[in-house]
Structure formats: structure tokens, C-alpha cells
């Protein structure tokens, strides 16, 4: 294997001062705040004014024994759709559980509609959660499941509301088949229907698009947007980058339990697009191809192994436009072009660690 000395890579985005991350009608631009080591375990944190909003999370941490699941998270959200983006294990579900009062915070406060959801019985009637876990009353049919959800919210016309909620998720024609025999996607839709029954002011959805086919994903995202447009605070988590692009322009990015970016998705995307991308090419003459790409200043690093080329580039679009015509021009066979680090984890690695 031959390694060409890599040119200096671009520096990771500089840490900006985190403005008060209130996300709502007038959202601030994306900001980036890399974590600065483990959270302090002792000593008073600098006093910051409490944020307010439909959901207000102020200096929240959650420890499970010695494991820090969520660390010093602080943001506020108002009406509309907001995406919570983070890789698996980032702390999204723990944060959601605290917002719903399902688990207490170890530090800091969570206020939903101005109340503590763990203690305030009334506010629980105005929150809805679509949990990540695939849990339903499996022996019930979809209507009975949603009916129970409506009845446990104390709704008078629970039957009509259950039918309406099932209509929202396109589950009106499933008969009396138990939900235990539903596909993963149908079960997700039942969970969403259960969450709609109380016309919640705050709707928290933990990976709600998992298992849905593309058509249902599109419909579900449209539903979230309609609810957001109606003034509901809709917070949706995902670990799939492209999904977040369609969910909404407002994002919270969490990694390793810390909030690392907040604001507009497009700004975040631009920030991410600035990072070097690693791409693999399979070509019949990799050395010749590598030399041509370096000559055209399209790559920042190249390594050659057998018939494979691994490239680092800062301009994936230009490389994509060039590589096929270049292969024709050089008379080499190009059999594969594949990104190696387009997954969310690599994006976070770049944002957090600058590599």
C-alpha cells in the first residue's frame, strides 16, 4: 500500500459562543459548542438565567451510577417541529424520558408548559410520547389500543377520537387483527395514533419513522408538520441525517450526552459539508487515477491498495462530477464509487473531535 503524504486538512469549525438556544419562531442561527471534557462532578456551575418555552431544559444532567447519560443540556423550544439529532446512545431517549417525567433529572430542571412533568398530573394530559421501544398491548387490535389511550386521558368521546387518530396514520382498515401481529411500521403508526388522542400541546416522538416505508415516512412527516403549523411543539428524534433534513429546519444536535449544536439545519449541513469526506474508488489503474486527481487538486489525501483508492476530499460534489469523465479520459475501468464516512457518527466525530 502506498500512502501519499496528506496535505494539511482544514481545521474543524471553531467553537462559537453558544447563544441562548431558544428554538421557536425566531430561531437563532446554528451554533457549535464542542464538549470540553467530562462534566464537573462537584462545584457550582455558573448561574445562567432559566430559559423559558413550551419545553425548557435548564442545565439538565442524568447519571446512571458512574455513567453520564446526559450532561448539562440547556435549551428551550416553542411551537413547530424541531428535530433532535444524535447517534445511537447519544442520550436522546434519556432526554425525552426526562421531558416526559418518566425519569427524574440528576441535576437541573425540565419544565413542560411551565410545569414539572414528573410531579404535575395535569400537564401529563397535555403531553404525548411516542416511545422508542416497540411496546404495545399486543393482544389488542389497533382500535382497542388507541381507545384505551383515549380513555386513559379521560376523553368523553373516546371511540370517535380513536377512529380519528387511526385515520391520521392511515390505519382505518386493519380490522380486528391484534397489534402483536402487525409489522414494525404498522406498530409505529399505532403508537403515533395513541399519541394524538389527547390533542397534545407537546408531542415527543422518539425515532417515530423507524420501520416505516418511504410513503408512510412522507405522510408521517407531513402530519408532524401540520401539527407544528397548528402551534403544537413537536420534537422528533432521529439518528438518520437525511431524515432530519425533511423533518424540519430546526435541529438540536446531541452527542455523548451533550448538546453540541442548535439552530437551523441548513447552517448545520453547511458546517458538515465543510468537513473532508472519505471516498473509495475501485479502478483498474489506481496509481494513474490517483495522480490525475492530485493534479486536479480534487483530493487532500490519497491511499492506494491493490485496485482501490481511498480519497479524502473537501469538495465531494466536484469530485463526483469529475471522476467518471476522468476515468474515461484515462482509459481506466471505474467499478465503484462509495462514501466511507457519510454516516452520522462520522459527522459527529468531525463536529466533536475535528477528525
Amino acid at each position: 500500500m502506498t500512502d501519499f503524504p496528506p496535505p494539511p486538512t482544514s481545521a474543524p469549525p471553531a467553537a462559537a459562543t453558544l447563544p441562548p438556544p431558544v428554538i421557536g419562531a425566531a430561531a437563532p442561527p446554528a451554533s457549535f459548542a464542542p464538549p470540553t471534557g467530562p462534566p464537573p462532578l462537584a462545584g457550582p456551575a455558573p448561574a445562567l438565567p432559566d430559559l423559558t418555552g413550551m419545553i425548557a431544559v435548564n442545565g439538565v444532567s442524568k447519571f446512571f451510577g458512574s455513567v453520564v447519560a446526559v450532561s448539562e443540556v440547556r435549551f428551550a423550544i416553542d411551537g413547530g417541529v424541531t428535530a433532535l439529532l444524535g447517534p445511537n446512545g447519544a442520550g436522546k431517549s434519556t432526554l425525552f424520558r426526562m421531558m416526559c417525567g418518566l425519569t427524574p433529572t440528576s441535576r437541573g430542571t425540565v419544565r413542560v408548559l411551565g410545569a414539572d412533568p414528573r410531579l404535575d398530573r395535569d400537564v401529563r394530559g397535555r403531553i404525548a410520547l411516542v416511545p422508542q421501544q416497540d411496546a404495545l398491548f399486543d393482544h389488542l387490535d389497533a382500535y382497542s389500543m388507541v381507545l384505551i389511550a383515549a380513555q386513559t386521558h379521560g376523553l368523553d368521546d373516546a371511540g370517535a377520537i380513536a377512529r380519528w387518530a387511526l385515520e391520521q396514520v392511515d390505519l382505518t382498515d386493519v380490522g380486528d387483527k391484534p397489534v402483536g401481529k402487525f409489522s414494525k411500521g404498522m406498530r409505529q403508526r399505532v403508537k403515533v395514533a395513541c399519541a394524538l388522542v389527547n390533542d397534545p400541546d407537546v408531542l415527543i416522538l422518539d425515532e417515530p419513522l423507524t420501520g416505516l416505508d418511504p410513503v408512510q415516512r412522507r405522510r408521517m412527516i407531513a402530519l408532524f408538520h401540520r401539527l407544528g403549523d397548528a402551534g403544537r411543539c413537536v420534537l422528533v428524534s432521529s439518528h438518520v441525517l437525511d431524515e432530519v433534513a425533511r423533518l424540519g429546519s430546526r435541529v438540536l444536535v446531541i452527542a455523548q450526552g451533550r448538546l453540541i449544536a442548535t439552530g437551523d439545519y441548513r447552517d448545520l449541513r453547511a458546517l458538515m459539508d465543510d468537513r473532508p469526506l472519505r471516498i473509495r474508488l475501485a479502478v483498474s489503474d489506481p496509481r494513474r487515477m490517483a495522480a490525475a486527481l492530485i493534479e486536479r487538486n480534487l483530493v487532500t489525501a490519497v491511499s492506494v491498495a491493490a485496485d482501490r483508492l481511498t480519497l479524502d476530499t473537501l469538495d465531494a460534489d466536484a469530485l463526483g462530477r469529475t471522476v467518471a469523465p476522468l476515468a474515461i479520459e484515462l482509459g481506466v475501468h471505474l467499478t465503484e464509487v462509495s462514501p466511507l464516512d457519510d454516516d452520522l457518527e462520522s459527522v459527529f466525530r468531525y463536529l466533536v473531535e475535528g477528525r
Binding site: 418518566l102 421501544q133 411496546a135 384505551i148 386513559t152 386521558h153 368521546d157 380519528w164 402530519l223 401539527l227
Partner: protein, 254 residues
Amino acid sequence: MTPPTVHPTGRRPQQTVPDVRAIALAYRVVIRQLTSVGRIVALSLLALVSTVAGFALGTADADLDAAVRLISGLGFAVIIPVVALVFGGAAIGDLREDKTLVYLWLRPVNRWPLVVGAYLAALTLSAPITLIPVVAAAILTGADGGIVPATLLAGVVALVAYNAIFTMLGVWLRRFIVWGLAYILIWEGFIALGGAGVARFAIRKYTRSILVDRTGVDLDLADFSLTIGIVVPVLAAIVALALGSWRLARQDVD
């Protein structure tokens, strides 16, 4: 066509669920969760062991003393507590384990009606599965001297207490079956027999006292009056449900 997103009620739903309605809802949900054919058949077969033993004793012309010892030693020491453990522990415990508790927990309801509804569901299922075979066993022994009404009364008291204790255990502990069996077999079956002081903390002492009071048979560690034999287990049930409700309000829910 996209269905309207506007909620059909056109208004905010009421904000809390009345306690009686919450009890009924929890009861309905839990009783359906607990009702599995395999569980009911297995526990019914276990309970039928007492009936067979009672029949065998009856064919051997055993006296009242032997009959009461059989009912106390098998029906009240094993069958009723074990069946109550399976249903009572699972009443909330299964919801927590399969992560469906959130559908009852994240609601505008008080916690105690959820526990009481789950408890009543466990009681509803465990009562026929245990009382019918155990009372049948008392009948089939052929013994006179009030053994049948005594068995029925002590059985009801035992079910009320054990189901509440094990419902509480299901709220508090993930391995409720292990701890419940430890309570039944080690505490009540062994340690509590060691002395009157310790036996006060065993439901079995009170059910034995009821049997003794109503039949006149002499059993060890069964010296409470009928009133105490009934009242203390009922109070224990109330305390257990209160502790279960307290814990449910404070526990982590997945």
C-alpha cells in the same frame, strides 16, 4: 386525501381522569394482560393438586385434624400464595417489564388507582383458580366441624393480603418472582415457624388462626382471635397497596 388534523372534539380534553374511572381502566388493561391460557392452565393444575389430595384424604376416612392440616399446609402455604404471586407480581411487574407501563403512567391520573386496579385484576383471576379447588379439597376430605366455611373465609383473607403484597412487590422489584418465592418458602415456610414473634409478620399465621378459630383444631403458631386473623391481613393489604402506589409515583418508567 389527507384527513383533517383538527381534533374531533374541537376542544381541550378534560385534564384528569377520575379515580374510579382510572381504577376501572387499569383493571381492564391488566386483566387482559394477565389472562394467558398457558398461565391459567398451569396454575389451575397446581391448584388441583389440593383437590386430589383432599379426595385422597377423604377416601382414607381421615379426621378433621388431618383435613385442616392438609388445607393449611398445602392450600394456604403453597397454592394460594404462589398463585397470588404469579398474578399479583405480574399485575404491574409485567407492564413494567414489557415497557407498556408508559401507556398508563404518562396520563393525567393519580398513581394509586392504577395500583388498585391492577390489584383487583390479580384478585379476580387468582380467586377462582385457588378458592374453588381448595374449598373443593375441604369438602372432599369429608371432615365435619366447619372446615368448609373456615377454608372459604381464610382463603378470601389470604387472597386479599397476598395479592396486595405481591402487587407491591411487582412495583418495587424487577425479580418479583424470586423474591416472592423467597418470602413464601423461606420466610413463611421456615423462618416464621421459628417463633411467635417472627410469625406475626407472616400472613400464614393469620390464616391458620382463622382455621383454628372456626374448627377448633390445634395448629402451631395459630393463636390469634378471628378478628385479628381477619383485620391484620386486610390492614397489611392496605399498607402494601399504599407502598406500591408511593413507589409507582417515584420509579423510573421505560
